[in-house]
Symmetry: C2
Subunit: 439 residues, 2 copies
Amino acid sequence: MESFNIAILGCGTVGGGVARILLDMKEDLSARSSVNINLYKIVELCPKNASERFNLPMNLFCGNGKDLTKEEAKKFIFEIIKSDKIDLVVETIGGSDDFIFDIVVGICKSKKHLVTANKALLAEKGKDIFAAAEENDVNVGFEAAVCAAIPIIRTLKESFSGDSIVSISGIMNGTSNYILSKMQDENLDFKDALKLAQEGGYAEADPTLDINGYDAGHKLVILIKLAFGLDLTIDQLSVKGIENIDKEDIDFANEINSKIKLICYAKRIDSKIFATISPMMVKKNNFLSEVNGATNAVRIVNKYSGRHILLGKGAGSFETASSIVADIVFIARYSEKMQNSYWKSDFDFIDAKHFIFPYIITFETIDIPGITGLITTSVGQQNINIDTVSHNRHNKDKAVFSVATMPTTLKQINDAIMEIKNSKPEVLLSQPKIIPILY
Amino acid sequence: MESFNIAILGCGTVGGGVARILLDMKEDLSARSSVNINLYKIVELCPKNASERFNLPMNLFCGNGKDLTKEEAKKFIFEIIKSDKIDLVVETIGGSDDFIFDIVVGICKSKKHLVTANKALLAEKGKDIFAAAEENDVNVGFEAAVCAAIPIIRTLKESFSGDSIVSISGIMNGTSNYILSKMQDENLDFKDALKLAQEGGYAEADPTLDINGYDAGHKLVILIKLAFGLDLTIDQLSVKGIENIDKEDIDFANEINSKIKLICYAKRIDSKIFATISPMMVKKNNFLSEVNGATNAVRIVNKYSGRHILLGKGAGSFETASSIVADIVFIARYSEKMQNSYWKSDFDFIDAKHFIFPYIITFETIDIPGITGLITTSVGQQNINIDTVSHNRHNKDKAVFSVATMPTTLKQINDAIMEIKNSKPEVLLSQPKIIPILY
């Protein structure tokens, strides 16, 4: 059997898992790919830790197991890139700076396949990376970059190829879903739930990217590329995180038979694509409302085959590693027949402001008679159809109430708010909170 | 671009959907497969109906649109099998008799790829069909044979290739799930729920195979082959349907925070595979308990990547057809690199009797003091650990109560029941109902 030699760059939580699976399952993986899957070399700054944690033999590490300086590691990485013994390189270093970009492009240019879980890099610089791969006739595997263990990439590319994707919605960040679940189940406020997530290992010391929606946004950018053939950057998307969700929002969601979830959403309407990342009120008949804790889930609606849900672990060492290994097996078997330029399209991207959605608008106002009339009148004047108005949640000397709208645009809502501010500047005590409703 | 010519045998609900998608999406499908996907010919007894229903041009039909006798259809089928213009044949005739077996083997022997949704045929004669395909270096696509739109086949083969499958459990028959959901939600008994299913088009006039578990069993046989490399026939499996589930079972399930679902279950324990199809008490924290109506869902637990759930439409014209078209695209692109002999194994199959599971045993007894003691003592004597004993659901002059066991074997339970029957023949008014609990 022909050999298929693999190098791993970075042997931390994910890279170490990949190495372990490649050794444990060598025989099965070779049978499944019809080549001899062979872990050839690992570059890692601290081989001792990695070796102990994942029980890896020292001779696999460049430098024979001694700790490396960054310069030494760089030298080994470029040796691997140049080597004619290596068929595929796994990049599990992370980051999206020029250093890592040059490495992955270098891998492609030296005619080696690339497998990576680096969502930030692909979301920011994917276009150039895929172009380099295509020019050099190699493949890029990135199943692990979106929702770790959930095989959403291969499902979109190889299983939904007999269909046309209408929409994607999903819970793609485990940290924020864990926090929202804790707020819901244990009646905690945001800060306490975040603390709990950090103590339990569900959130990083610096949780910014998880909480502000950007981690989820990177994943959505990659899925939009695959599902709709559209090259976007995250700056083109409307991204809202969960920082401003409070107990009152959670309570009100319960009242209207919903749960608040951080949702990645993309939908095709004719030749236009709309996409957003935002906390949404997910109605209980939508499966995503039942997805709790650190679990991820993706809901896809197709033209012919209707609604699909994929649910699984969105993070973790071996969970992410197993998707990387599946990419290795797929590339080892099929690379000659794979294409990098997936589903091309002539779709246009449209701004979130112009997309039609039902919304919950929560107003915090002074507590005097006439307010409900004033606000609902202003909302109606913007041609927004009101579905329901919640009871007034009096809060000390404030009135808090929510308006559920029929499908409308953010632009209309913003115009209505502006109108209220202009006509009675004293009424609104804070900027109204606007949360889409997902049925 | 090279042409890839397709013939469809049988243009009913599914075959007609395939034809429609192939025409509608020709350009996209060709781009995705890098060959010119071309619907070449259709064999159908009543082309007029099919043409009207799916808006298909008459010249696609063998015989130019006139109704065919069975003999004429057979002649056209064998012309297609012999033709050197056809690359792939879609079999959507159905049935598992020699007639259809000879056709599919004939397709393989004449070096044409085969795509089929025929679960009964594959479950009963798959071994010979795959052998014929392997000998002749062609591929068999059967994504549509298991849970229609859910891409479980390709997920097992191509996405979980970096992992080792521990267990599969699923709701794989929409009809029985629809009936159970109706019994649950509308407090109907089995007969009324079945009638409703038939009226709503969710059950056939003869619903036997859906209700008795054999349709689901065929799917499980195919999944076991893929996941564990084991060739079984359905006769080797313990198959129980939902015919004997009554309102009381549904009520008791509710009481213990469960829902009754018809579950296909297969699990690997070391080198042994256990499998069964049975109604189970699915605990509410298991996602399968939330899958209602005609929806299908499969839950897979992997060694490295943990728990996965795939949910989607388990039946329907275009739902099934889209999976067939995905197989066509996959084969058109990758056939030269595909293997038919998937994951081989040396696993042994073990009988359901010897597998360890927690169970609910429901006893219908005479209503006198001392019964609970008698029964729980007999159960204990077989080394069965009792978890809980339900309150006594007095029913006219009978006592009905349930014992929830810790994990045990069916053999131990049957021995306990035998012991009760032997020592006090008058106590049990009917054969106790034994339902596994799925956590």
